[in-house]
């Protein structure tokens, strides 16, 4: 019995054990298989997610590109009050979808609807039709990419720029194993369709060979940067018109010299002052047809328009680009007159409006006169007198309408242009002025102002705004009288013509317009002209550099984007792009 019981118990214990073992082993195999299947499934999911993430990334970038494109055509594109797009049918079109502002649902402080129809949410006060409001435009591109364009009220300036925020959301198309979402947020600023005039410093402080066939050093870098800059600007739509004025110290080496002979007796070539009548912009901004030849920068007199390869040394017709001092004043005048639709330079009008009194009239003088007079820039010389000069001088129709094509001057200098106070071939030094009376001791143009960075925008008399030392110069060498800035105060005593009337030979066309630079600037601003500066190699950690920078910043008096400091001339191109277009990727996930 005992044996039987033992046997039965053993059999009972053995029953099911093989099944148990099989199930255990099978479960382990199955678990491994399921784990591997899970891994496989995860791999599939990951690869699909990556594919969707890549697609989402490009969709987001494409959406931002679409916004950039239309803002480049019209910075008011995403403001429903100004929907007009030049040449466009529908208001905007991206990736085959048209978005019509006429169907916009505008809400005030409310949620904007999404969809392929543009929607608009007003984020502030409605300034009415024709004005730019702060708001958010929303639309959805194919592929479920939602775009939000924020325009901020304080950036609704009148010089055709856009400063704002662009957000793009892309969600993976339905059907994926998992959903990938891409979000990018940009701070974006751009200038669209502008007319540009470069004012390029070619003075002696710009190092490098410029009289031989192969230009070198900073000068070569500057030209290369300009070429790249022009190519970049011409690639924008609509392409801007571009002009270039180079400036040296005197009138003779500022702008383009069209020839060396007097024309119709209109111009004064006496006393070593070369004829300003023979000057003009290097590239005429507004000349018909010239916009197609802009690749040929700093051309020679006799070269083929548009051919940058024919500037081969030697050439008797080469434009003088010898090392020279600077005359930014004259360059500003030329550029300003170009932008004002005026003709520079030409004589032949009445002489009584010259600041020198009795001297031949020049457009620059008239510009200054207009600032203080009762007329405006529209009264200045126009191209009526072009007929007098003959066919050798191109016509200068007005620049394009500023409402559509704002005007930008871009000054490129090494931060030491020494002639905002001078419009003459000669310059001054402090010893030429009686520190007590403020009168010139001798004919001022017989002496030279010592070159150095401390000379920029300085004058020697705080009372007159001109040329008189009053104390110790904290920056210049020695302990002599120091210089102060032009005070820019309007008044009989402070006007250049009054100050110098008894000091200058009346037959010589002296002009000191930039001593009243702020007035000139204001006149430009009134004309809708914006001024940007690229200061190359300016060390603002030094007292001089800091002072120059402060002055320049104050003088251009607009947003910080219009003042750039480039480390060297190779960086000029990057600085130019920063002025025209700034993209800051604020967030991406």
């Amino acid at each position: 019995m005992t044996s039987n019981h033992t046997s039965v118990g053993l059999v009972e214990r053995q029953e099911g054990i093989s099944l148990f073992i099989v199930i255990v082993i099978g479960s382990i195999i199955l678990a491994i298989a399921i784990a591997l299947a899970g891994f496989a499934l995860q791999s599939v999911g990951n690869s699909t997610a990556r594919e969707e993430a890549v697609q989402g990334s490009y969709s987001a970038e494409d959406a931002f590109s679409c916004v950039k494109y239309w803002l480049g055509k019209d910075v008011d594109t995403f403001s429903p009050d100004t929907p007009a797009i030049a040449g466009g049918g529908a208001d905007i079109e991206c990736q085959g979808v048209s978005y019509d502002w006429s169907a916009v649902t505008q809400t005030v402080d409310g949620a904007a609807s999404n969809g392929t129809t543009m929607s608009y949410e007003l984020l502030g006060f409605d300034f009415g039709a024709g004005d730019v409001d702060a708001g958010k435009a929303t639309f959805t591109l194919p592929g479920d990419t939602r775009v939000e364009v924020y325009r901020q009220l304080e950036d609704s300036s009148d010089y055709a720029s856009f400063n704002g925020l662009v957000r793009v959301f892309d969600r993976a198309a339905a059907g994926g194993s998992r959903e990938a979402e891409r979000f990018q947020q940009y701070n974006y600023s751009t200038i669209s369709g502008a007319d540009f005039m470069f004012l390029v410093d070619r003075s002696g402080s710009i190092e490098g060979e410029r009289t031989a066939a192969a230009e070198t050093g900073e000068w070569a870098q500057l030209k290369a940067a300009l070429s790249d800059g022009v190519s970049y600007l011409r690639g924008r739509v609509p392409a801007p018109y571009i002009g270039i004025v180079t400036f040296g110290t005197g009138i003779a080496d500022t702008g383009r010299r069209w020839g060396n002979t007097d024309v119709a007796g209109l111009c004064d070539t006496a006393n070593g002052i070369l004829d300003p009548c023979l000057l003009g912009p290097d590239v005429a901004l507004t000349d018909p047809g010239d916009e197609t030849t802009l690749g040929d920068l700093l051309p020679w007199n006799s070269d083929t328009p548009g051919d940058p390869t024919d500037d081969v040394w030697p050439s008797t017709n080469r434009i003088e680009v010898d090392a020279a001092h600077t005359n930014l004043s004259l360059a500003l005048s030329i550029a300003g007159l170009e932008f004002s639709g005026r003709f520079y330079p030409i004589g032949g009008t009445s002489s009584d409006i010259s600041v020198a009194g009795g001297s031949p009239d020049y457009a620059f003088g008239r510009l200054e006169e207009d600032v203080f007079g009762d007329s405006d820039i529209d009264d200045m010389n126009d191209y009526v007198n072009q007929a007098v000069l003959g066919a050798a001088f191109p016509t200068y129709p007005r620049d394009r309408p500023d409402s559509d094509y704002p005007d930008y001057m871009i000054i490129i200098t090494d931060g030491e242009p020494n002639a905002l106070i001078s419009h003459a071939a000669k310059e001054w030094k402090s010893e030429s002025v009686n520190p007590i009376t403020g009168n010139f001791l001798a004919t001022p143009y017989d002496v030279m102002y010592p070159l150095g960075s401390s000379k920029l925008f300085r004058t020697q008399d705080p009372g007159s705004g001109l040329f008189v030392d009053t104390g110790n110069d904290p920056i210049g060498s020695g302990s002599g009288p120091h210089y102060t800035f032009c005070d820019d105060e309007e008044g009989a005593f402070n006007t250049p013509s009054n100050y110098v009337s008894g000091l200058l030979d009346g037959s010589r066309p002296w002009h000191f317009p930039m001593c009243n630079a702020t007035k000139i600037r204001d006149a430009f601003f009134d004309e809708g002209i914006q001024i940007a500066v690229i200061a190359v190699g300016l060390d603002n950690t030094t007292p001089v550099g800091s002072e120059i920078e402060d002055w320049l910043r104050d003088w251009i008096a607009t947003d910080a984007r219009l003042y750039r400091v480039a480390d060297d001339y190779a960086d000029v191109y990057d600085s130019l792009r920063e002025i025209v277009e700034v993209i800051i990727l604020k967030e991406s996930r």
Partner: protein, 186 residues
């Protein structure tokens, strides 16, 4: 009694063994099927990953060239080397310099019918023109279709939509990865 008991026990064991074998076969078969399916999925995922990289490779080349065109060519030349005739299917040799490319985007007939090749299976490089004699065709075919549009009505093309497709043979037929990108002449 003992014999009957023994027969019964033997029958139980046999039945148990049969069930165990059946369960084992089912489990192993299921596992093998699962593993097989997983293996195909992993291969498919791997193929998709490679295809995505290949598509992205072409898109990045196109965008790099577009950027160069905008910066240094400008104007109507903004599609230089990245244009495909309307209605045609093209390819792109990305193992070439972006600035001075040997071909740029070209029709598939000029690019090994858009089939990508590898010098050897371990090479990370894919090319249409691999000069190594041992180079073999890969399963991947990369095609590019370009659609241009005049979005502002000025008579010139200022938008170009690129569809980059990388396709390959899979067990169930042909699989593909597609990436779209749109460029503007801005």
């Amino acid at each position: 009694m003992n014999t009957k008991q023994g027969n019964k026990e033997a029958g139980v064991v046999l039945l148990e063994a049969i069930i165990a074998i059946g369960v084992l076969v089912a489990m192993v078969t299921g596992s093998l099927l699962l593993l097989s399916s997983s293996s195909r999925s992993v291969r498919s995922a791997n193929d998709r990953l490679i295809a995505t990289y290949l598509a992205q490779d072409a898109v990045e080349w196109i965008r790099a060239r577009w950027y160069y065109n905008r910066q240094f060519v400008g104007g109507s030349g903004w599609l230089t080397h990245i244009q495909c005739p309307t209605g045609r299917t093209c390819g792109l040799e990305t193992q070439t310099d972006v600035i001075v490319p040997t071909t740029g985007i070209s029709e598939c007939t000029l690019l090994n019918n858009c089939i990508l090749r590898q010098p050897d299976p371990t090479s990370p490089q894919y090319s249409h023109f691999d000069p190594v004699s041992a180079a073999v065709d890969t399963p991947y075919t990369r095609t590019i279709v370009v659609q241009t549009a005049d979005v502002d009505g000025d008579g010139t093309h200022d938008e170009a939509e690129y569809t980059v497709t990388v396709s390959w043979s899979s067990g169930s037929g042909t699989d593909s990865v597609e990436i779209l990108t749109t460029l503007y002449n801005d």
